[in-house]
Symmetry: C2
Subunit: 227 residues, 2 copies
DNA sequence: CCAAAAGTGTTGAAACTACACCCATGG
DNA sequence: CCATGGGTGTAGTTTCAACACTTTTGG
């Protein structure tokens, strides 16, 4: 069945910039394209928006279809509409950015043609996806400093050092250990667990979890997180 | 001529939230709709995206066509894609937000069915435009606190009191005069002019202008403006 | 006992808040 | 001369940055 309109319309897609963290590098999830154009190039997961779904729904659907990921932190990023961003025809793309925890991240690797790449060395990408990725990175840095979202990239139980390494990897700066701990704990958003993290030949580390309820309460009172 | 596609496509529009400041209230520019649906209701200026223009270009074109405004500060806000946001058919809208100086603002009033409303008391709006406006307001508050964009809502030459009133109107809080002046001048982004602003039966006020070049230089060095 | 990461306090500098009076003008 | 908004400085408090050593573990 064909669809006919009085005026021409751009095609509308969603693309997702999916970030993960392996303890060392910030990573992006990419899909190897099976079809032309840009056949065999790596690209952001995404696809066409259906008429009966919202943009958010389209992003989640495509993400699940192409990478198997569900229940991730997902947020609209920016809409890209350069006239020639797709060589075939006019395509406008609503970009999303997603954060996934390491547990989910490994699942994604099973997906057919998906793989993780350190953001620093992301191969040449299809379309304008390099630009989209750059925009997403900028936004992530901003968000990390102003909202407690780092936890979305860590396991539910994590150590302060893991959290610090994440901040350092994303922001690209070294942070002072004592000041970092003071500040983070000062917000009183982390609960110390009765467990420790043992690994390697050194003192075990205290595990914490993030308390989202506490954060919501604080946010309502106009509280501003700032790393 | 008709246009035919293999899969159905949403229509794609842009909508602009245009803010102005009259010295007292923050205002939005609205258009009275001439056609159904929502005939005679007030709505955000906007319209369909053409195939040969970027989204930014579409926003600027529509703005000029419907309000006569040109050369305004314009930035993409968010894309709205609820399935039933337009009762006729699926329409996805890329929302923009714009800041205009008082001089330009008066021009807009001449436009056929355009008028300014205090944001607080914006009449019932068409479609989901109230939601778009709310999102834009949130963004404006955020932006005003983190980037020096307030000047886009003031005349090229302005007094510190005008600037402070703008901040107070947008943020909805009273600010301490001395601290405000100290902070703003401390950034060294304003140049004191040799003119004063005389008005009313009191001491004339020093006029300033914003120095965009200075700001660009500072920004490159990782400087963060914060009111 | 050695290597490796976890954990912990203090001090000086800078930034923030609160606050009250004199100044220049027009009417 | 009076009403109106313009303009200015300080002191106490809080926040920030810099900085080095001890602890616990596994091998």
């Amino acid at each position: 069945m064909l669809h006919t309109y009085k005026y021409p319309r751009p095609a509308l897609t969603v693309d997702c910039v999916v970030f993960g963290f392996d303890g060392g590098d910030l990573q992006v999830l990419l899909i190897r394209r099976a079809l032309e154009p840009f056949k065999n190039r790596w690209a952001l997961p995404g696809g066409f928006v259906h008429l009966d779904e919202t943009l958010d729904e389209a992003a989640r659907r495509e993400l699940e279809e192409e990478t198997g990921l569900r229940e991730v932190f997902l947020e609209q990023l920016h809409t890209f509409g350069a006239v020639d961003r797709d060589p075939r025809e006019r395509v406008v793309s609503v970009a999303y950015f997603a954060l996934v925890k390491p547990s989910a991240a490994t699942a994604a690797t099973d997906a057919a043609e998906a793989d993780w790449f350190p953001v620093a060395s992301a191969a040449p990408l299809a379309f304008d996806h390099a630009e989209i990725l750059a925009t997403a990175l900028e936004r992530l840095r901003d968000k990390l400093r102003r909202e407690p979202v780092g936890f979305e990239l860590l396991p539910p139980k994590f150590t302060l050092s893991q959290l610090q390494r994440l901040y350092e990897a994303v922001l690209g700066t070294a942070l002072d250990k004592r000041n970092f701990r003071k500040k983070v704990l000062g917000y009183d958003l982390l609960v110390a667990l009765k467990e420790t993290h043992r690994e390697g030949a050194h003192r075990p580390a205290q595990l914490f979890r993030f308390d989202p309820a506490k954060y919501r309460r604080l946010k309502k009172k106009g509280f501003l997180f700032e790393l």
